[in-house]
Each structure stands twice: as structure tokens, then as C-alpha cells.
């Protein structure tokens, strides 16, 4: 069981900044995220795109913003459960919460802050009628263990980096690799596109474009896929695995069943006070929440995180006196023993 003061669901910019504001109050944080890395949308969807409305940064790349936040919170030693989705929440008799992930990891905290953005990123599943019947029976949307494909026939579809990179990687593992894409052009990194071309020329990879997989054949498991090419009769390719790699899209997911008030695919919170939800002790901050006048901006998430931490502190220590201190005055004391502080003024008399 992982124990912490504030359990944060979502490691995007809002979740990460929460660690800083909580740290100033000597509260420890642990973050859960379905993605294998920190940064949320900033690292998953648009790491190389600039953002222009982060105060004091005339321009910053989304990926760099994530890196800077990680640097800013480092001394507060946040814990991370990455690549796992927060699935269930159980309120304990003492008012604390246990959150369990889809992989069974349990987290215990007196305060839960949902900073889940638009939800957890799930693979986009192509609309093939019988695809659900073959999930984990030869259809995989994410490659977890490449060894699964050792000496097997594999068909990959998609046109982005992950489709290209895995096609390249699996040529050394699988007995055959076929890459199917709806266009002749791929939008992955140039190196990857060149490498696929090279493997194709060497006969190590079969490329079928422009084409689309529109059906899956098999009984207990996948035995082939039905490929459609424009102006041609559909044909079947024999395969042991079909791996559609069409990127990820966020879904609110299990959080929608936690008994929280949901409006417009977002969690209703009290904007006048502390961003608490209808369940005391559970807060929602950043893009995942809604209230009259809500704007889904990173800078609003930072503000919400800051106020939320003050309320969390009062909830955890109801009798403790506290006033907000400027970091310039109080410095920053890390849990790792480091201290940042403003240099002392030099006082010297003039004779």
C-alpha cells in the first residue's frame, strides 16, 4: 500500500504543480497516471508545440514546460505510479481514501486531487465490427511485451511514429511483419520512414498502402485480417497478431463512476472556495473540473491547485495554525534536505 498526504490522479501540468504547492505546506504527494510518462497532454499530444500564455514565458514548448515542472518539484520527492489507470475509490471509516489502479496497486491518502485533464489516455480502436471479440486473442492496441511476437506473423496498421517504430523493431522478432496504412505517406520521424523503406527494399517487411484492415478472421484467436485496397477485391492476409496503432485519446473512464457530480464530461466543483467536489476530501482541478466561467487553461489549473492545497492542509490538520508565506521570504525546504532561499542582504557600515 502506497501512503501519501495528497493522492493526485493525473500527472499533467496541473497535477505536477500541485506537488510544489503541497510541498510548501509540508504535504507529500503521489501521482497516478495512465500514461507511462509525466506531462499529460503536453507530452503525449503536443510536446513540440509552443504555448504562449504561461505567465513569464513568452513562448515555451509543451515538452519543456513538463521538464521545468519536474525540476521545480524535484525537492518534494513526489511518488509516481505510471502506466496505470486509477479505477476505483473506497472511502474508509476515518474519512480517508483508498484508490486502486487497473493493475491492483493500492494508494491510501486523506485527500484525493483529481487532475485528470480530459481523462485517461486509451488506445483509439478502429471501428472493425468484430474487433472486440479478438482483444487479447491476437488483437493488441498496445505492445507491452515484444516477446509475445517472437516467431509469429504480425500485421500492424497505422501511419504515425508508433506504427513505424514497432514495425521496425518487430522485424527482428516476428517471423513476418506487414505494415498497412491508408496512405502512401507516413508522418513519423524521417529516420523511421527511411528505415521502413530500407526494410521493405530488403524484403524484411511487407508494406501495403493505401489500404485498410476492415475485418478480422479467426475462431478462438486471430488467424487473418481482411484488407481493402481501393478498386481491388478485398483479400485476406494470414496473421497471428493484428496490432492497430492509431494513437491515444482521452476518456473520462472509471472516474465517471466514483459518485461525483458530472456535467459536460467534467467534474463539478466549488469555485468560490476550494475546488472540492460533492464528496468531501475529493478535489478536482485543471481541465477535469467545471464551474460557471471555467476555462481549460494550464494557468487556471495552477491557480486551482494552489487554493486546493490550502484546503487540503486544513482538512488534514484542522487545528493547526498556518498563514501563507511567500517563497521569497520563507525559501523552499525540500523533503530531500535541500533548501533554497533568497541571499541575505549584506549590511556594512560606512565610516
Amino acid at each position: 500500500m502506497i501512503k501519501t498526504d495528497i493522492l493526485i490522479i493525473g500527472a499533467g501540468p496541473t497535477g505536477l504543480f500541485t506537488v510544489f504547492e503541497a510541498g510548501l505546506l509540508k504535504l507529500r504527494c503521489h501521482l497516478i497516471d495512465a500514461l507511462p510518462q509525466q506531462g499529460g497532454q503536453c507530452s503525449e499530444i503536443y510536446p513540440k508545440k509552443p504555448i504562449y500564455d504561461i505567465p513569464a514565458y513568452p513562448e515555451i514548448l509543451a515538452g519543456d514546460l513538463t521538464d521545468k515542472l519536474m525540476e521545480q518539484i524535484k525537492q518534494f520527492e513526489p511518488g509516481f505510479t505510471l502506466g496505470e489507470r486509477a479505477d476505483t475509490i473506497d472511502k474508509q471509516e476515518d474519512g480517508t481514501f483508498i484508490v486502486t489502479t487497473n493493475k491492483g496497486t493500492k494508494h491510501h491518502a486523506p485527500v484525493v486531487a483529481i487532475a485528470g485533464g480530459l481523462g485517461s489516455f486509451e488506445p483509439r480502436k478502429p471501428p472493425i465490427p468484430n474487433i472486440a471479440d479478438f482483444e487479447d486473442k491476437g488483437v493488441e492496441y498496445i505492445i507491452r511485451d515484444p516477446e509475445l511476437y517472437r516467431d509469429k506473423k504480425v500485421v500492424i496498421s497505422g501511419g504515425g511514429d508508433s506504427a513505424l517504430d514497432w514495425s521496425i523493431f518487430l522485424t527482428d522478432v516476428a517471423s513476418s511483419v506487414t505494415l498497412i496504412h491508408r496512405r502512401n505517406e507516413f508522418r513519423g520521424a524521417l529516420d523511421s520512414v527511411d528505415k521502413v523503406q530500407e526494410l521493405k527494399d530488403e524484403g524484411k517487411l511487407t508494406l501495403i498502402t493505401p489500404a485498410e484492415v476492415k475485418g478480422i478472421v479467426g475462431g478462438d484467436k486471430v488467424t487473418g485480417v481482411e484488407v481493402h485496397k481501393k478498386d481491388e477485391e478485398p483479400f485476406i492476409i494470414e496473421t497471428d497478431h493484428f496490432i492497430p496503432l492509431f494513437g491515444l485519446s482521452p476518456k473520462l473512464g472509471p472516474i465517471a463512476d466514483w459518485g461525483l457530480e458530472i456535467e459536460k464530461n467534467a467534474i463539478k466543483v466549488n469555485n468560490a472556495l476550494d475546488y472540492q467536489t460533492n464528496i468531501p476530501g475529493i478535489y478536482a482541478i485543471g481541465d477535469v473540473n467545471t464551474y460557471p466561467g471555467k476555462l481549460k487553461l494550464i494557468l487556471c489549473g495552477f491557480h486551482e491547485a494552489t487554493l486546493m492545497c490550502q484546503s487540503a492542509f486544513q482538512r488534514i490538520f484542522p487545528d493547526k495554525k498556518y498563514v501563507m508565506k511567500y517563497t521569497t521570504v520563507g525559501g523552499v525546504d525540500g523533503f530531500d534536505g535541500t533548501r533554497k532561499e533568497a541571499p541575505k542582504a549584506v549590511i556594512k557600515s560606512i565610516n
Binding site: 499530444i45 503536443y46 480530459l118 496504412h181 496512405r183 492509431f246 494513437g247 473520462l252 464530461n265
Partner: protein, 110 residues
């Protein structure tokens, strides 16, 4: 001069909406759909309008001349689902006076 134009948008439930959209607010079609809440929040414009998610895919029903597709839009549509010959990403269509009377239908959520 009234800077608004009329758009005919069929939502994902098949309901036709005839709406007014401003041409002087640097809006795109996806944003117009969101401003009228013709699709639930969180199901359209997920990437914010960067042609990186295809949640604003729509089918163009009238023969208006639209701005040519950029490389990013083409690449995204190549990986989107339910794509037809008349598919476009709403976020890549700026609202201009020439689009008065444009008819579109929102593609299914995916």
C-alpha cells in the same frame, strides 16, 4: 455590414441546426460547434484545434470552396476513423464570409 454567416450543421444525432457564426472572431468550424454545444464537451476539439486528434471531423455536404488541406490535416485524416471523401477537420476551416450557407455533418465520435 453584418459579419455573421449562416451555417447548417447536422449533429451526431442527425439533428439539423441552422446557426449564425461570426466571421470577425478568428473562429474555426470546430469552435463554432463548441460555442453552440452541438457536440458534448470533451468529445470535440480535444487537442484544442491543432489537427492532432480528429475529434472535430465532419463531412462537407455543400459545394463551397474550402481552404486546401494542409499536410497536418491530411496526415490526421489518414489515421482517423469513419473517413469519407468529403471528410475535413472542422478546426482547419476558418469561418469566412465565403462560407455563408455551408452545410456540414459531424462525424461519429471515436
Amino acid at each position: 455590414m453584418n459579419p455573421d454567416i449562416t451555417l447548417k450543421i447536422t449533429d451526431r444525432e442527425g439533428v439539423l441546426h441552422e446557426i449564425q457564426a461570426p466571421t470577425d472572431m478568428a473562429m474555426n468550424l470546430m469552435e463554432v460547434v463548441r460555442s453552440y454545444e452541438l457536440a458534448p464537451e470533451g468529445t470535440i476539439g480535444i487537442c484544442g484545434g491543432m489537427a492532432m486528434c480528429a475529434s472535430c471531423q465532419c463531412y462537407v455536404k455543400s459545394d463551397h470552396e474550402l481552404p486546401e488541406m494542409g499536410e497536418e490535416e491530411e496526415a490526421m485524416l489518414a489515421e482517423a476513423f469513419y473517413v469519407e471523401d468529403n471528410s475535413r477537420l472542422g478546426c482547419q476551416i476558418p469561418i469566412t464570409p465565403e462560407l455563408d450557407g455551408l452545410e456540414v455533418e459531424l462525424a461519429p465520435e471515436s
